[in-house]
Structure formats: C-alpha cells, structure tokens
C-alpha cells in the first residue's frame, strides 16, 4: 500500500465511521434510556433517505430534503413508540419482536412505494466536487469531508447536551436509574417519547446524509441495522463515547481489510466483535449488566 492509498483508505474509514456514528447514536441512546432494541432503526434510515430524495427531487433543495427526512422519521419513530411499544413497555424481548414486525412491513411498503431502484442525491454545490488535501496533494470528495465535519458537530452537540444541560443530566440520570428519576418528579414517559423521536430523526437525517455519499436502495436498511448492531455491541449499549470509538474502530477495520483482503473483510468485523465480547461482554464502554 502506498502512502496515497493509505491516506485515502484512512479517510474513507473516517467518513464511514462518521456515517455509522450518525446512525448508531440514536440506536444506542434509545436502548440506554428505555432498554428498547429498535430493530426497525435501519428502516427509519431508509425511510428518511427515500422521503428526503422525493422532497429534494420535487423542490430541488437538498437541505429541505434532509430536514424533511429528519422530521418524517421523527414522526414515524414517535408513532412506533407511542402506538406499539408503549403498551408493552418493559418487556424487552417482545418490544424487539414488535420492531422486527414493523421492519418487515416497512421494508415491503417502501419497496411498493419506491421500487427496487437506486436513488442518488445531488448535494449543494458548496459541498460537492473535489478538494485537494494539503497532505501529499491527494484529491478527495468534498462531500465526504462534509460528513466527517457534520458527525463531529452532531457528536459534540450531543456531548454538550448530555453533560451541560438540565435535559442532558436528566437523560443520563434516567439511563442510570429510571425509577429514581421518575420518583423525583420527572415525566419519564415524555423523556422516552422525546428520545425516540430524536433517535429516529437522526436515523432519517443519516438516510439523506449517507445516501448522498453512497446511494439509497432497498436493502440498505439491513446494512445500517447491522452496522448499528455491531457498533453498539462493541461500544457498549447507551454510551455516547462508546458509540464514537466503536464507529471509528469498525469503519477503519472494515476499510483497511477491504483494501488488504477484500474477500475476507466480513470475517474481520466478525472477529473484532468476538474479541470484544470475549474480553468485555458489556462492550468497551458499557457498564456490566
């Protein structure tokens, strides 16, 4: 591998990590707060992507598409939580089964609506095209650098929210001990609804952001569900830092192994997961159950 290749692969890994982080962070926060494994999370990503594409196509504005994706996914997530999950709250396995059922129906209905085509986005001119990096004079798509910056901003904002605001403190307290927080007078149900809508909105937004880097097509829901699963299994459930570190680890390992030995790349992420589970079953940043 030459230096140029190495830098390019590393950058690919970093931007993929950014994308994984955007998708998985909602998944892990929802789990951390309410112990719901939302296996329809990938469906929300795909749904956001499709809606975003449709809106962007009609209005000609990528930004409007992204906002619409976030809004529509938030509403869908909220509806899922309020209508289907709330009645069986606390039964974690049954909740997971319900989200599986939703993902089956959602995948089929989205296939009916948008067909088996591949959709590509055209991001605004300011963030499309190529940029020449100061290092080694390597050319790299501006858009991918934008994803990297965007994920950093989202991660930083979330960190500030969770550590510096009253809402964030309440959320962290609820992750640690739901019952106690509810006893001191916090409306935990409202917190749950808010978090579910927020996590879904991030997934929907990631549908447009990620779809613009790659593309949107049926089957992407499973891909991002797998990414979210591996990231949170490795990082530890409900941990922001864990999600960030695991996204980096998984994406970099995936890209390096794809460059070095393409046919066995899947095995490497498998081994990574096995290794972490063997050493720390609760994940790198997870607390013991």
């Amino acid at each position: 591998m030459t230096w140029t290749q190495f830098v390019t692969v590393t950058l690919n890994g970093l931007t993929l990590a950014a994308l994984y982080f955007l998708v998985a962070v909602g998944f892990t926060l929802i789990f951390g707060l309410m112990r719901v494994v939302n296996l329809a999370h990938g469906s929300l990503y795909l749904f956001g992507g499709y809606v975003g594409w449709t809106v962007a196509d009609r209005t000609g504005s990528w930004v409007l598409g992204a906002l619409a994706a976030a809004a529509v996914a938030a509403v869908a997530g909220l509806a899922l939580q309020q209508a289907l999950l709330r009645p069986i709250q606390g039964q974690d396995l049954r909740e997971a089964l319900v989200t599986i059922g939703v993902s089956i129906v959602a995948a089929d209905l989205m296939l009916a609506q948008w067909g088996g085509f591949t959709y590509g986005f055209s991001p605004p001119a300011a963030i499309s095209g190529g940029a020449r990096l100061p290092v080694l004079g390597i050319g790299y798509p501006k858009y991918r650098l934008f994803i990297l910056g965007f994920a950093l901003v989202v991660g930083l904002a979330l960190w500030l929210l969770l550590t510096r605001t009253r809402l964030g403190i309440t959320i962290r307290a609820a992750i640690d001990d739901r019952d106690m927080v509810s006893v001191v007078g916090v409306n935990v149900q409202r917190l749950f609804a808010l978090m579910f809508a927020f996590g879904a909105a991030l997934a929907g937004l990631a549908g447009v952001v990620g779809g613009s880097a790659l593309s949107i097509a049926s089957g992407e829901d499973a891909r991002y569900l797998l990414a979210s699963l591996i990231v949170v299994i490795i990082g530890g459930m409900g941990s922001l830092a864990g999600t960030a570190v695991a996204s980096l680890l998984v994406a970099l390992v995936e890209q390096y192994s794809l460059a070095l030995f393409p046919t066995y790349a899947a095995i490497v992420s498998f081994l990574l997961m096995v290794l972490v589970l063997a050493l720390r079953p609760q994940g790198l940043f997870g607390r013991p159950a």
């Binding site: 112990r35 997971a96 089964l97 059922g101 591996i230």
Partner: protein
C-alpha cells in the same frame, strides 16, 4: 382419564396415518410445494422453539446454520466432487461446528443481547458468503446441487422427498419432546426460568446453554440439507436478513414454546406466502402484520389459539385443566432479565 388418553392416541395415530399416506391422496402441488417445504422449515423453526421457548435464547442465527449445512453439502459434492454421503456428513458437521462457535460467543449474553448478537453473527455470515468467491461462490452461490440417489431414485422425486422430510420431521419432533423430559431438558428449562438459582445449585449454566445451542444447530442443519436438496442450489439470499427473520416469524406464528407449533407455523407461513402472492404483491406486509398481531395480542401463537377451545371444553366438562406442555409464553417472551 383413560378414555381421554386413548382418544388422544387414536387421534395421533390418525394424524400420523394421514400424513404418511398424504402423497397417495393429496394433490401434487400440496405434497411437493406446500407440505415438503413446511416440514423442513418446520425443523428449522423447531430448533428455534427449542432454544427460545425452552432455553430462553431467542436466536436469529438458526437460518444461517440451516444455510451453512446447505453450503457444506454443496461445496463438498459440487466443488469437490465428493459422493453424497460425504456431503451429508460434512454439511451436518460444518453447520453444527458453526453453531458451536456461534454458541461460544453468544451464550455469555442473555435476553435481548443474545438476540442482537445472533442477528449480527447471521448478518456477518451473509456478508462473508456474498463476498467470498473461492468457497461460497459469491453472489451466485453454488448451483447444480444434486440430492442423493437411493436405488436409482433421486431423493427429490416428489413423493419420496415428502416421505424423507416427514421422517426427519417426526424424528426431530419426538426427539425434542423426549429431550425436554430428560434431566438435561429439565435443567435447560430451569436455566430459562432462573439461571442464577440454577448456577447456585451447581449447574454450569453457560455449558447447558452451549450444549442446547449446538444441538439446536444440528437440528437446523438437518432441515438445511433437505432445503438445499429441494432448491438444488444455494446462494447468499438463502441466509439474508429476511430469511433469518422468517424463521422467527414461523416460530412466533406457531407459538414460541410449542413443539407442534413449529410445523403449524411453517405450514401457515408457506400457505400465506404461496396464496397471498396470487392476489396481492404485498404478501410480506400480510406476513408482517400477522406477526405483529400475534406478538401484540396472542403471544401463544396459533397453537395458543387452538388450545383455547380445548381449554374451555375441558373446563366445561369439569376436568382440571393442566398447564402441561404449553408454558406461559407471555412469560417466556416478555420476561426481563434483570
């Protein structure tokens, strides 16, 4: 009571007789395209029922193991030109070994984590099969897989294949029912209900889980061999996430803790996919909604629905209703591992 048992036995014999002679009087379509696949998918679902209903482990990797048996058979017989019996032994061994390895990783976790890890393992194997050309044949998979020949008859001839599937299904069915009555089976159910207490009694909980997972893997592998003979080919689509979930749908439709339910669920599933597809293209939506309705409203599945009239009848006849085999699935599915 003796009258009840004899009616039961008579009923069981009648059902067995009807099933065994089905190719003689049933339509070719139902024998070949509905019942045969229902039997081998039923075996795969049974492996999940054993794990989920009786071991408290909802595994989403059962179809992966099912598919790996098919890959093993295909690789040995097609790629390496080995005879069919080597393919059978190799396929079973490879899939059971894979189940053992998955088990090593997964049994350290419980409940929802177990589900996620087995799902992730299954999806990783799918990705591997899709990318790897040298062994798995990449996206195309392995084509032209021939079933074994017995005395000049290819095993996939309609009636013969049905009987083979029926024999395998019956063996699995009675095997699992027997297993659940053995000390091992009882300990497994105790592991499901209270792992901590069982550990305190001196049982090796993880080892019990691992043994159950490996055994269920063997069952799934048996189903997988029948499946690959039926299809004559195997490709990554046979182990994609939809298939992984389908077997859970089958088990839940049948009743997650019902040994009979595995086969009933498979039959219902195949009927819905075959017939719903003739009047709507959205049969996956139909399946998904059925699944949702069952998870939300009738956790015992179809066998639970079927058990209800029986229960009412027995109460009406003044007999004490035994909870017997049908344990409270509401608990099995909804339990929280705190």
């Amino acid at each position: 009571m003796s009258a009840l048992i004899s009616t039961r036995t008579a009923l069981a014999l009648l059902v067995l007789g009807l099933l065994a002679t089905f190719p003689l009087w049933g339509s070719a379509y139902f024998v070949g395209r509905v019942f045969s696949p229902a039997l081998f998918f039923g075996i795969a679902a049974l492996s999940l029922v054993l794990l989920a209903g009786y071991g408290g482990m909802v595994s989403l990797a059962q179809m992966t193991i099912f598919g790996l048996a098919g890959y093993g058979y295909g690789v040995l017989t097609v790629t390496h030109g080995q005879p069919w019996w080597v393919g059978i032994l190799g396929g079973l061994a490879a899939a059971t070994l894979a189940a053992f390895l998955f088990g090593l990783v997964a049994v350290r976790t419980q409940g929802i984590y177990f589900l996620m890890i087995t799902l992730a393992l299954g999806m990783v194997v799918y990705a591997l099969a899709n990318q790897n050309r040298s062994v798995f044949g990449g996206h195309t998979g392995i084509l032209g897989i021939r079933a074994p020949e017995l005395g000049g008859h290819l095993l996939t001839e309609r009636a013969l294949f049905y009987e083979v599937c029926l024999a395998a299904a019956l063996a699995s069915y009675f095997g699992v029912r027997y297993l659940l009555r053995t000390p091992f089976g009882l300990a497994l159910q105790a592991v499901r209900d209270n792992p901590r207490r069982l550990a305190a009694l001196g049982y090796h909980v993880a080892l019990h889980r691992l043994a159950a997972f490996t055994l269920a893997g063997f069952l799934a592998a048996v189903g997988g061999l029948l499946g690959v003979w039926y299809n004559g080919a195997i490709s990554p689509t046979a182990i994609d996430v939809t298939r992984l979930i389908n077997v859970l749908v089958i088990a839940v439709i049948g009743g997650l803790a019902s040994v009979e339910g595995a086969f009933l669920g498979a039959l219902a599933f195949i009927l819905v996919t075959n017939f719903a597809s003739s009047f709507t293209e959205r049969f996956n939506t139909v399946i998904g909604l059925t699944f949702l309705a069952i998870v939300l409203f009738s956790p015992e599945g179809l066998s639970g629905l079927a058990a209800r009239p029986v229960e009412v009848l027995r109460r009406w006849r003044g007999r004490r209703w035994r909870a017997s085999d049908t344990l409270d699935v509401r608990q099995a599915v909804g339990r929280q591992d705190e």
